[in-house]
């Protein structure tokens, strides 16, 4: 708790959603992050997304690693179970959680240190398994909680607060994920709630691993001149190439402001629809190679391409691949699990 005013998402008088909850019911406890931290804006967007999707908070499980970013699950969805795990291990823990109960919704929150250094292996393998989760990577290009070391996401040439320039090639989680065969990958900016909320909604409803790399400036250690993850730099260089909307299953569509011809739409597994607005001529969010090329060419120019960059829901998720029963394993009655004494006796006849 802090007495310095924080940007806590609070829209008083907000109307209840379809399940009778107001935005407030999607909030958590008060943030203890620095005033102005990008992570807080992301929490607000997450609150907004679940609220708009009319999801009961207790049907969501929130997992995270360790870091300022990983603290944020305390600040949203107070009605959901949370698991603030160990540094870098969230993807593995979420894999186990999902293995046990495929019926609830999973959100994983992590930082660039948590995901791209200590947790890199787990992240890559969770993508390979196509774990059904929305993985929110709150990327500030720095280790916030340990006070400002460079992370593996720091761009070459970006300067630390003390003025040192980073020299090592960064790991771009979007490119990495694409090389691992991911089906849903987006990049966004904590300061662009309009872009972010629909992406979150699509990611929540997506069946499989949905990675959202969100530039989320660290006001305390990485928001200065010379940093490429500052508010200024990101605002200046963000290129929101793909604007998408999410239309939930059964919802009325607001088609009003789409320019004809440039719209692409994809139906989700769950019935909802992603509507891409203003897709550039030479862009195809369904072609992995082209997406990679497109992103990299812009990255080379110092531009930060944002939006739902790649989408493909055709691959089965971890359970689809494994052939697990539809009902959550944690709810299967013991009687269905235990073969019983007769089977044991019979089986042992073969052990002589």
């Amino acid at each position: 708790m802090s007495f310095i005013p924080k940007p806590v998402a609070r829209h008083p008088g907000m109307l209840p959603n379809k399940i009778g909850l107001t935005l407030r019911d999607y909030e958590g406890s008060m943030s203890t992050l620095c005033a102005g931290c990008g992570h807080d804006s992301i929490s607000a967007a997450i609150i907004q997304a679940y609220y708009e999707l009319d999801m009961p908070p207790h049907r969501v499980a929130k997992l995270s690693g360790i870091g300022c970013s990983s603290k944020t699950p305390t600040y949203f969805l107070g009605g959901a179970h949370g698991f603030n795990s160990a540094h870098g291990r969230m993807a593995a823990i979420a894999t186990g959680a999902n293995a046990a109960n495929r019926a609830i919704n999973y959100i994983g929150v992590s930082g660039d240190g948590d995901s791209l250094s200590i947790g890199l292996g787990h992240l890559c393998h969770a993508i390979r398994r196509n774990l059904d989760i929305m993985y929110v990577l709150e990327n500030n290009g720095v280790y916030g909680l340990t006070k400002g070391q460079f992370s593996a996401a720091t761009d070459v040439g970006s300067r630390s607060k003390k003025g040192e320039a980073n020299v090592m090639s960064p790991i771009d989680p979007v490119i990495l994920a694409l090389s691992l065969g991911i089906g849903f990958v987006a990049r966004s900016f904590s300061g662009d709630k309009k872009q972010l909320v629909p992406i979150l909604k699509a990611a929540i409803k997506y069946k499989g691993f949905a990675l959202i790399d969100i530039i989320s400036p660290c006001v305390t250690f990485n928001d200065h001149e010379g940093s490429t993850k500052s508010y200024r730099h990101t605002r200046k260089n963000q290129l929101p190439v793909l604007q998408s909307d999410f239309v939930a299953a059964g919802d009325q569509e607001i088609t009003a402001d789409y320019e004809a011809g440039s719209t692409k739409r994809v139906k989700l597994h769950d019935g909802g629809e992603v509507v891409f607005r203003k897709v550039p001529e030479d862009y195809d969010p369904h072609s992995r190679e082209k997406v990679v090329d497109y992103i990299e060419s812009h990255t080379r120019n110092g531009e930060i391409l944002t939006g739902l960059l790649y989408f493909d829901e055709s691959k089965p998720d971890m359970h689809g691949v494994a052939g697990t029963v539809d009902e959550p394993l944690n709810a299967v009655p013991y009687e269905k699990l235990c073969p019983g004494s007769a089977a044991l006796k019979k089986m042992q006849a073969g052990l002589r």
Binding site: G79, H81, I93, T95, G96, A99, A103, G323, L344
Partner: protein, 622 residues
């Protein structure tokens, strides 16, 4: 001296040459003749071309410990001839392939050489090199059948069962078998004095390895999620679990899996997955060996502190580090009992044979959920991967999992307030948990960071310590629920006075220990024997130790790890706890124990060779 139904043979092979199935044929044939038998495999940490040994011990008295002397050795590996010749007991036999002449340097006067031109015999009959190699194995099985008077019909039946779907293969195997059998009958005086005779001591028994039994335990306990990373000697736990699940855990309606087994990217991930699944209310486990336990330390501390159930099967191998991955040891006791940084203590179970692998695995899940904490099952390579004769596994259909204190939606509703994770302590130090997805009022935050009894982050000393002290009480509380030690008193388990000397052991050494107790008694050293089955120690453990003037703690590690825990957790003075470390990497042999105890007791060592007929107490191992 008759050695009917009481002898040991050793097969010296090259790994990757298919000898395992021939050796197994002999083991099973003996078993089916009703004679107690066990088989131990010594293989290299390699796939093909290195020496491997298999030992079969036939014991009418039911001793399952490692045999230390061999009556007959089957020398099929030219590279280890010298060693193998040496390993035959004086007066014993060496069976070798006489296709090639034996170097004179390998000649011993005190043993008999049985040469069979195995390669030559097989080359004549079989075409491909692979077949020739394989059939040579079956041929020596035939020779052994003749030498030891093993019922060749039993071997035939085993072959027929094995190749039920490929009768042609069964036939060619039978031919090879007869090849050896006939040659032996013709050239040697069969049977040898070390021979079989039908008994009826294997009824209601099975042959099984501990890892399969562990897997069955996990299956019957209702585990649905398993996460693992391959590692010798734990891999076959998960191989078996997978096989059993495929057989017993398909949803009858949809054919889909009532289980989810994940081959993780490493052991850190495997433990993470177990925690995620257990947190979510599934019974989940992992199986690994020492290196994996080292890698899981951080998350084990997390589970301890955040109070998440977890079952970890550690099939121990010889450490430290990579060590000898295909040798056995009991040297992960301390790292499991004290896993992770900070103040932590865990529950550890010590099965001693496949039956207990089965039973204690089930117990592990119950304890893990009851005490909301990791529970370790410390098996080892000897128990896990060798062939044990074991009483048939029994299952009580009335068993229902102890899920521990889990509140459902109604119970939370009844609270009339938001659920608090760590506040309603019971007499064992346990508090209630809830599962995700059940009810918004049930939500709480799981964290490895400092928290108070409400589950809320704290840095306030009293709040932090309150939880830590309860955790300590909880660990002590578990002492009342864990499996009690198995105690065998010289005077019977009645009220008679304790012996002067107590023997103490744990795990797979039990078979050899029981034999050692008998042998020591035969030599006039009366001992009581306690096998510890769990940490924290039940009150019986301390009581036993206190009763004896001296306790010899026999364990397969260098540093006396079990004894260390006893020093820390009981009031027994050090002088009463003597360490007997035997940690060669091989399973414990009774003679090693007898020798060590005699030395410590200042007694003469038993004369070599006198061992075989010293067995006058008859015990069938459970």
């Amino acid at each position: 001296m008759s050695q009917t139904n009481d002898f040991a043979i050793r097969f010296a092979n090259v790994n990757g040459t298919g000898s395992a199935s021939a050796n197994n044929l002999i083991l099973r044939a003996i078993f089916r003749m009703g004679v107690p038998v066990s088989g131990k495999n010594y293989f290299p940490s390699n796939i093909q071309g290195l020496p491997t040994w298999y030992e079969i011990r036939v014991s009418k008295d039911g001793y399952m410990g490692r045999a230390a002397a061999f009556d007959l050795v089957i020398a099929m590996n030219a590279e280890t001839y010298a060693r193998d010749v040496r390993s035959v007991r004086s007066g014993g036999w060496l069976l070798h392939d006489s296709t090639w002449p034996l170097s004179p340097a390998l000649k011993r006067d005190d043993i008999q050489y049985l040469g069979v031109p195995l390669a030559q015999l097989c080359n004549g009959l079989f075409d491909t090199p692979r077949d020739r190699v394989l059939m040579k194995n079956i041929a020596y099985a035939g020779v052994l059948a003749a030498l030891h008077d093993i019922d060749i019909k039993e071997v035939d039946r085993l072959l027929e069962e094995q190749y039920a779907k490929k009768p042609a293969l069964a036939d060619s195997n039978k031919i090879a078998l007869r090849l050896g059998h006939d040659y032996a009958t013709k050239h040697f005086r069969c049977p040898l004095p070390v021979r079989l005779e039908r008994m009826n001591k294997t009824g209601e028994h099975i042959l099984i390895d501990g890892n399969s039994a562990t897997a069955l335990g996990c299956l019957y306990a209702g585990a649905t999620v398993a996460a693992w990373y391959p590692i010798t000697p734990a891999t076959s736990v998960m191989d078996s679990f997978t096989a059993y699940c495929k057989k017993f855990r398909k949803d009858p309606d949809t054919g889909k899996n009532l289980f989810c087994i994940v081959q993780a990217e490493d052991e850190l991930a495997a433990m993470g997955m177990v925690l995620g699944a257990s947190w979510n209310g599934a019974r989940a486990f992992t199986s690994t060996a020492g290196p994996g336990v080292s890698l899981m330390q951080e998350l084990l501390g997390f589970a301890y502190y955040a109070e998440i159930p977890a079952v970890l099967i550690d099939v121990q191998r010889t450490g430290p580090s990579t060590g000898m991955p295909t040798r056995t040891q009991q040297s992960d006791i301390l790292i499991c009992a004290l896993a992770s940084h900070g103040d932590t203590k865990h529950i550890v179970l010590f099965p001693s044979n496949p039956t207990e692998c089965f039973e204690l695995s089930v117990a592990a899940f119950d304890l893990a959920e009851r005490f909301q904490t990791p529970v370790f099952v410390l098996s080892d390579l000897d128990i896990g991967m060798n062939d044990w004769m074991s009483p048939e596994l029994k299952w009580d259909d009335s068993y229902r999992p102890d899920r521990g204190r889990v509140m459902g939606a109604e119970e939370v509703a009844k609270l009339g307030k938001k659920f608090q994770r760590y506040s309603d302590e019971d007499s064992e130090g346990v508090t209630s948990r809830t599962l995700p997805g059940v009810d918004p009022r049930a939500a709480f935050f799981t964290r490895g960071s400092g928290h108070n009894k409400f589950g809320v982050y704290t840095e306030i000393p009293e709040e932090y310590q309150e939880v830590m002290e309860r955790l300590s009480r909880k660990h002590k509380g578990a002492a009342g629920r864990v499996p009690t030690p198995v105690i065998r008193r010289a005077g019977g388990n009645g009220k008679s006075a304790p012996a002067r000397v107590g023997l103490v052991s744990l795990g797979g050494g039990d078979a050899a220990m029981n034999e050692a107790v008998d042998r020591l008694a035969a030599q006039g050293l009366v001992t009581d024997y306690m096998r510890v089955r769990a940490y924290p120690f039940s009150p019986e453990v301390e009581a036993f130790l206190a009763e004896h003037e001296v306790n010899y703690v026999v364990e397969q590690n260098r540093d006396g790890q079990l004894r260390s825990l006893m020093l820390l957790d009981t009031e027994i003075p050090k002088s009463k706890l003597k360490s007997v470390p035997i940690y060669s990497g091989f399973p414990l042999a009774a003679s090693e124990v007898v020798d060590a105890i005699c030395k410590l007791e200042g007694r003469d060592l038993p004369a070599p060779g006198a061992l075989a007929n010293e067995k006058d107490t008859k015990r069938l191992q459970a």
